[in-house]
Amino acid sequence: MTTDDGDEPLVCAEGLATHYTTADGILDRLLGRGETVRAVDGVDLELHAGETVGLVGESGCGKTTLGRTLVGLLEPAAGSVTYRGTDLTACSRGALRELRSEIQYVFQDPLSSLNPQLTVAESIGEALAVHDVVPPARRDERVWELLETVGLQADYATRYPHELSGGQRQRIGIARALAVEPEVLICDEPVSALDGSVQAGILNLLADLQDQFGLSYLLITHDLSVVEHLADRVAVMYLGRFVETGTTAEVFATPSHPYTEALLSAIPEPDPRWDGDRVVLEGAAPSPTDIPPGCPFHTRCPRVLPPAASDLGDDEFRAVMALRTRLSDADADAGLAALLPRGDDHTADPAALRDAYDIPRQLSDPDADDALADALEAAADGNLEATRTRLASAFETPCETTEPVLTPGSASHPIACHRFDDRFTGDTDAAESGTRSTDK
């Protein structure tokens, strides 16, 4: 994600990818067992001085991995991270240790990120000692200063983490990160382990520190209200890739990526009279070991595009896609029972299947209807494999064949979705109205 500003970014990641392997031990690795988890898969990110970039997504989407790769806790598999023009991935160990003090990390759970055996002063003092920020004689003094900076009294220095409340611990975590005088703080869910009233205090503190020291933040969180409150720009991440980037206002306004829409609509509103529409995504995110082809979101997307050649309505097509998704989840030998909602209902006829998935008895495109009828006959005979292949060929969406690129397309900011690509939608108005229709 990039901005048009002329100034050079503080931190810049290009084509960054981080992979894990599930292989366990040398033997597994030698035998080539284990799968590759593509936790971060080709991400471009720029962070400018004094700005806050929000990074949002569900758990398992690779937000934390990206953050940890940026601080150098994880080795990237591809791509580069540069800090003020220096490529961190090419740095020597010694140089890297020096640079490390410029990018610091604030952890989600302040209790587990503080050593229970060390006092507050020892934890913060360690950071001071490692990089020799201040001479040993002045260390205590500096610890007190730092505590004051994060809004704690100096007498907290002698306490142990378990004697502090959650909010106080998070303040210690922030003080420790600030001890080495960094320019960039990567805050990984800094408030999600805290109570509401305490959250507000930490968020205010982060804002104050930014004003005071001109810090840049990468704010990793699943809570969009926090992002909206603090961030200047937002990147939405799904399965290791950015699906939408832009200024906070752009991303939070319509139109946006269907995934962003779902994330936004899912936030419970603290207003009993709120009556907005809610997009509930089907199922859980696919495993990052097995990322769906094409648009990674197409398996859960409520707005999958119909094939360009067909005349199918969006609703019809989505109903067929739901059937296809279920088919791909079902075991081949599970039979028809896997497709019908109730296990004990074995009236195997195509009409029942159509009803179960809200597919109209007659599709508006006759060719498509023939193909569907054919496939459903196969399903009624229990031949799920045949159904699967027939549906796949007749109802192939561009979302599963072509990977969308993160470009503005017809939208005002970069969105990786075919709906904003003229090649797939024909005209831009359709895309615009398509996404707006939910805001009724």
């Binding site: 031990g25 503080l114 004697e163």
Partner: protein, 379 residues
Amino acid sequence: MSDRQPTTDRGRIRIVGFDDAAEQKRDSDASSDTADAAGTTADPSIASRGATGIDPTTASTSASAFAQPGRRLENAWRRFRRNRSAMAGLAVIIVMAVLAVFARPITVSTAEVTITLQPFSLAPDDPTAMFVGPPNAPPSLAHPFGTDWAGRDQFSRVLVGGRYTLSIGLVAVALALCVGVQLGAIAGYFGGWIDEAIMRVVDVLYAFPFLVLAIAIVPILEPVPILGSGYWTVVVALAVTGWVGYARLIRGEVLSVREREYVTAARALGVPDRTIIRRHVVPNAIAPVVVQATLNVGTVVLTAAALGFLGLGLEPGSAEWGAMLAQGRSSLLRGDWHVTVFPGLAIFLFVLAINLVGDGINDALEPDRDGRDDRRRMR
């Protein structure tokens, strides 16, 4: 009410005024806080009283946070003290140790001078002096534990024998801990081929029964000159066989501690690996090893006794409890029960006490081991 119409807008309700009031209160609090702080620094005795949580009238949150004393060890000691059987075990060990130390005078002699380090002598006779009484005499007032085949005073021998047995147990375990904890921590923290190499050695050593391995090692070690006779050979043999258990145990613990966020946090700060292991990993992984080591003191004492019984290790005739048992075999057949019962009882009592203490340490350390970090998921 008109303003409670259903809406699709978010962020419709807003509360104002609360923050202003809170701000005002904070300002007034801040001034009183600085006054408090000044008072605290002016009078350190009050501060320390608050810190130990003795002062019950201080109801503020800061004092209550101090109510739980900070150090984990202090907490553990408090819990340990409340455990009666463990305290009884500890008392038995202390009494045995004191008896062993004060049984005979300890002297350090060089060519010219002899310095007496410990002049007391609780044991009535020299344990090596023969025929201080009739051979194989049953317990009597003069010889409360009777005498052995050479007429040596059993009571003196049991007291002095404690020196060997207790110190073999403690020294061997301490040596094994030094080796095992370091190797295990390194293996667990770094992983990879270092881990594979160390753990395969551990696996090989584990393939032998403990006692058999010790029996095999003693003859190998005996010709080594510095080890000298008996005592050090036994200690080294027991340490060599003992470290594998600690290494394996601490490796497992380190594997989980290594994944804790405070270790990651230290790495993010650029703390060198050596310091991370020393400050962050080992202190948080050591608890189960300490428990295991304590319990192992008993096992090691038993093994030392078994080695002595088999005639390995200490030179024959020395007042080691196991060796005494071995020599008593023949007397036992003749019906002279006292020759074996008293050293046996001493071993039994010591091992029992060690086990009680080990359980006590286990209970004292256990509550601090939490599963909170298990919540970590890959995000």
